[in-house]
């Protein structure tokens, strides 16, 4: 085939896609050095006039030694980071089915709202009379969160999901201490399917973790919980919908078993996106639950953060919420920042999670998302998220194996690697082959209760056409795997900016920062 310029459109011999370029670049994929290799310590991308002569007041602490921090001019900086961005995959690049992470569309209206100077350019310690709108925003978001969850109160300040878990368990610890049972209630029950942050959080504040085995069908058995819970039990941490993509159908009985033993029910709300507007954790016996605003409520993941993890609390735990919190008064909204002030209003805060008041930038984005959807749209979003996951399930069920049978799932569908047996292809290989097809892989090897787990969460943001192509692609890959087209997997990815990376080597002798190359010493004669 020739194009209109008379040039061939199919590869000719000698022009294969493997030939090396002079630069090592491949068109849009540029090899990019580190700033330390291209910048210099006397280059800068800012123009700052030196101050008029003055007498320094630094005592003996002036920094004299060189720091070794290179600078770049503005155009060089721009190009460097744009080129780096081109090596990344984001939600805006394509379907991002990372289970447990809820990679939904990040509306740009949210970004615009978060940058309004009235939110972005206010200081946490300005007089409260000058930030009433910011407090109103926090209070409005709090109202949405307690209404959607059917809970009594919310502690806004935790900075991410794991920080929310910590906040919830601290409130539980304080409530137990207030009952005079601090020395006896030390155990937190954690299902084997839980995310790593759950046991890590419990252990961080000296709870003993007791695992709860997951039964055949991927859910937790209330009888097992009842048997494990007792006078030593502080709480259960239960993810619902759980990490196998299933709703814990016996959640009410589990809550009862824990409550009967005198413990509290902490819910990991990472998967709240499946049930917003469909069911309220408060109706299910939950005492505390964190909400990842960066999952359910669309604030961007930003390559690993920032997040925001408000914790909704039951009536029993609400008095122990940390400072700061907002109170309505005659003169307006008051931010209660210290224990003495809190005690005046009948609260018993367990302490403080962080400096200042939490992730305002994320609150604005989350509220912008909620206002846009409305109560009706939020419910629709959850229904679509669940429908999309089930559509993928039925599209792949004949080729890939479902560890708990081919039955409805919530907003994510979990496969295992039983179907890959004897192919010589691992879950990781399969994931890397998806990269070549232009997809971000699903979550792999989590939850741990399933061998070679592949957890697919499409979210409500995908169109039917997008899902159809995704299903067709995974079917093609699955059939190739079964056919014995092994190299397509074990060598993958072939088309990413880099081939498979050697993680073992990175951990064996860690190189965690750039160091100047050592001059090669002449061998002594």
């Amino acid at each position: 085939m020739l194009n209109r310029q008379g040039r061939p459109t199919t590869p000719q011999s000698g022009a294969s896609d493997t030939h090396e370029t002079f630069t090592g670049n491949k068109a849009l994929q540029q090899i990019e050095p580190l700033i330390f290799e291209i910048g210099s310590t006397d280059q800068t991308g800012v123009d700052i006039d030196p101050p008029a002569a003055y007498r320094k007041r630094l005592g003996t602490f002036e920094r004299k030694a060189a720091m070794g921090l290179p600078g770049l001019s503005e155009p060089e900086t721009m190009r460097h980071y744009v080129r780096l961005s081109q090596k990344n995959y984001g939600i805006d690049s394509g379907l991002f089915p990372l289970g447990s992470c809820t990679m939904k569309h990040n509306p740009r209206l949210n970004e615009k709202m978060a940058r309004l100077p009235g939110f972005a350019d206010v200081h946490p310690l300005q007089p409260q009379s000058t930030v009433q709108g910011a407090l109103e925003l926090m209070d409005t978001l709090a109202h949405w969160l307690v209404t959607l969850t059917g809970m009594d109160a919310v502690a806004m300040s935790p900075k991410a999901g794991a920080h929310g878990e910590l906040c919830g368990l601290m409130a539980i610890k304080a409530a137990i201490a207030a009952r005079g049972e601090a020395d006896t209630r030390k155990v937190v029950l954690v299902p084997d399917s839980a995310h790593g942050t759950n046991p890590a959080t419990a252990a961080l504040i000296h709870f003993d973790v007791r695992s709860v085995p997951v039964r055949e069908d991927g859910t937790v058995d209330p009888k097992v919980v009842a048997a494990l819970a007792g006078p030593d039990t502080a709480a259960i941490m239960l993810t619902n919908p759980n990490t196998c993509g299933l709703f814990e159908k016996d959640v009410v009985a589990i809550a009862e078993a824990v409550h009967k033993a005198g413990g509290y029910f902490y819910a990991d709300g990472a998967n709240f996106n499946a049930i917003v507007g469909k069911a309220r954790p408060g109706d299910l016996g939950v005492d505390a639950m964190h909400i990842n605003l960066h999952k359910t409520f669309s604030t961007p993941h930003g390559g690993g953060g920032p997040g925001s993890g408000p914790v909704v609390l039951s009536e029993r735990l609400a008095p122990f919420a940390p400072v700061p919190f907002i109170r309505k008064t005659e003169e307006g909204l008051q931010l209660v920042e210290d224990d003495a002030e809190a005690t005046k209003h009948g609260a018993h805060p367990f302490g403080r999670m962080t400096a200042f008041h939490g992730q305002m930038g994320m609150y604005v984005r989350a509220l912008s998302y909620m206002l846009s959807h409305g109560a009706d749209g939020l419910k629709q979003a959850s229904e679509d998220a669940v429908l999309n996951a089930n559509y993928i399930r039925v599209g792949l069920a004949d080729l890939m194996s479902l560890p708990f049978g081919n039955k409805p799932c919530m907003h994510e569908v979990l496969f295992d690697d039983a179907w890959l047996k004897e192919t010589g292809i691992s879950t990781l290989d399969f994931a890397k082959a998806m990269i070549d097809e232009g997809y971000h892989p699903m979550t792999v090897y989590f939850p741990l209760v399933v061998h070679g787990a592949m957890l697919i969460e499409p979210t409500e943001s995908e169109s039917r056409a997008s899902l159809d192509l995704f299903i067709a692609t995974l079917r093609d890959l699955a059939m190739a795997a079964k056919r014995g087209d092994t190299a397509r997997f074990t060598g993958a990815p072939y088309h990413a900016p880099l081939r498979r990376l050697d993680e073992t080597r990175a951990a064996r002798s860690p190189v965690l920062k750039w160091t100047p190359p050592q001059p090669i010493l002449e061998a002594a004669e």
């Binding site: 709202m113 814990e248 309220r280 400096a355 939490g358 409305g374 990376l501």
Partner: protein, 446 residues
């Protein structure tokens, strides 16, 4: 609803394919009486224009820092952030990516994290830095727990110059983790005797410099005293720009350095998101909390970066992990890295110099006022003054006159005899006119 691509027809067709006649069949595991049969009592969907109107109205009820002479600091600082930074962090591929668990398609993130770690190590004068914590305060809390793990001791000593919110975070965490904390009394004049508090049961001493009142602290003798007793020095800063002009904590003997990185690249945002910096010595790497990015090669021998040493982390180690942190400050580290790259050492030193010069100028002007005592002898860009009368009332009155004069110490240290102390920050944003306005207003109301 503009964010939802499925049409009603799509939904029906897909339900048919899935084999259900009603969407609620997919929610059948929810106990029947708990499944909501109504839409919750909250407003219904709105178009973009209406949402903008609503939120703009709330925003308009706040007074932005850039609209008035602004001297509020005490842990968060108003600086100029170059336009390039905000443009770059909004690149889709950065903004909408996840934690780089699939390194082959996340080299953009990993590459800048490696740059970030190198920059933070250089700034703090330490061997290694991690890929960020939530903020300076939680980084401090984690540093204390890390010191306990290393020393196998259980007691922290907190300087009276430590930001009280940071102290509260440490005390809350320690109380819950059954560790001891000795808190020195608020130390306005930097006169406390920390060394006397160090014995061989102490795991670490936590000292902030510049301290919460703005005074530069001498870390060296404290580091020496710590080391003599087998304890660690944790050095804290809330104003990272100070490191452009002030000797690094590493040079002064710190073992762990933590601080707030907000000043570089990140706006005030009413308190968050910010970026916690965390650095230490090589021998303590395996005790560090948080993610670490490391260099390696790909199958063709090309250099690349991955998250590494994850056997410290919760997703591998579960209840034996060094911390529970997972999501960190991702995009805020990118903002930090880009701004730092624009500055370079030359720009950072220049920026720090302007900050210090402005603070010195203001300190001189204030010292000349009749009823004002400037507390600090050596400082960077923040000072504390003692006034006649109540600093909270003064700040409220000046806010009424359109001047944000600073943070009354009593807001951070209520009921501790500091009602007449005002903490005042100066950065490159403060002009000579701003300072003149502040001085004139103080004269008028006092």
């Amino acid at each position: 609803m503009r964010y939802l691509p499925l049409s009603t027809d799509d939904r029906s067709a897909m339900m048919a394919r899935v084999g259900v006649d009603h969407i609620d069949r997919l929610f059948a595991d929810i106990p029947h009486d708990k499944l909501l049969d109504h839409v919750l009592p909250l407003p219904l969907a709105k178009g973009e224009l209406e949402v903008e109107r609503l939120l703009a109205k709330m925003a308009a009820r706040n007074v932005p820092a850039s609209s008035v002479p602004f001297f509020v600091g005490a842990g968060a600082y108003k600086h100029h952030v170059p336009a390039t930074v905000d443009h770059l962090i909004q690149r889709s591929e950065f903004l909408t990516s996840y934690t780089p668990y699939q390194p082959e398609i996340a080299q953009g993130t990993l590459h800048y994290l490696f740059e970030f770690q190198t920059q933070v190590a250089a700034l703090t004068g330490m061997d290694v830095a991690n890929a960020s914590m939530y903020d300076g305060s939680t980084a401090t809390g984690e540093a204390v727990l890390m010191a306990h793990r290393i020393t196998k001791r259980n007691k922290a000593v907190l300087s009276g110059g430590l930001h009280p919110h940071y102290g509260d975070v440490v005390r809350t965490l320690s109380h819950m983790a059954k560790a001891d904390v000795v808190t020195m009394t608020p130390d306005l004049h930097a006169k406390e005797n920390l060394i006397a508090a160090i014995d061989d049961t102490v795991s670490c001493v936590v000292v902030q410099s510049p301290d919460v009142f703005g005074t530069l602290r001498d870390l060296k003798p404290i580091a020496d005293a710590c080391h003599a007793k087998g304890a660690l020095l944790i050095a804290v800063f809330t104003e990272v720009v100070s490191l452009g002009l002030v000797a690094s904590p590493g040079e002064q003997g710190a073992d762990i350095v933590v601080g707030e990185g907000q000043s570089i690249g990140n706006g005030l945002m009413f308190g968050g998101p910010y970026v916690g910096l965390f650095a230490t010595k090589t021998q303590y790497i395996r005790n560090m909390p948080g993610r670490l990015c490391g260099e390696t090669v790909d199958a063709e021998g090309k250099r690349g970066f991955v998250l590494t040493l994850s056997t410290r982390e919760q997703h591998i180690r579960r209840e034996k992990a060094t911390s529970n942190i997972c999501t960190n400050s991702g995009l805020c580290t990118l903002a930090f890295t880009i701004h730092m790259t624009l500055l370079g050492e030359k720009g950072l030193r220049a920026l720090a110099d302007v900050n210090h010069a402005n603070a010195v100028a203001l300190a001189d002007q204030l010292a000349a006022l009749p009823h004002v005592e400037v507390i600090n002898e050596q400082f960077f860009n923040e000072i504390a003054i003692r006034i006649k009368g109540d600093a909270t009332k003064l700040v409220d009155r000046l806010a009424h006159h359109g001047i944000m004069a600073g943070v009354p110490a009593a807001r951070l240290f209520p009921h501790q005899g500091l009602d007449d102390v005002l903490i005042i920050a100066n950065t490159e944003i403060n002009t000579a006119d701003d300072r003149a306005a502040l001085v004139a207003a103080l004269k008028e109301v006092m």
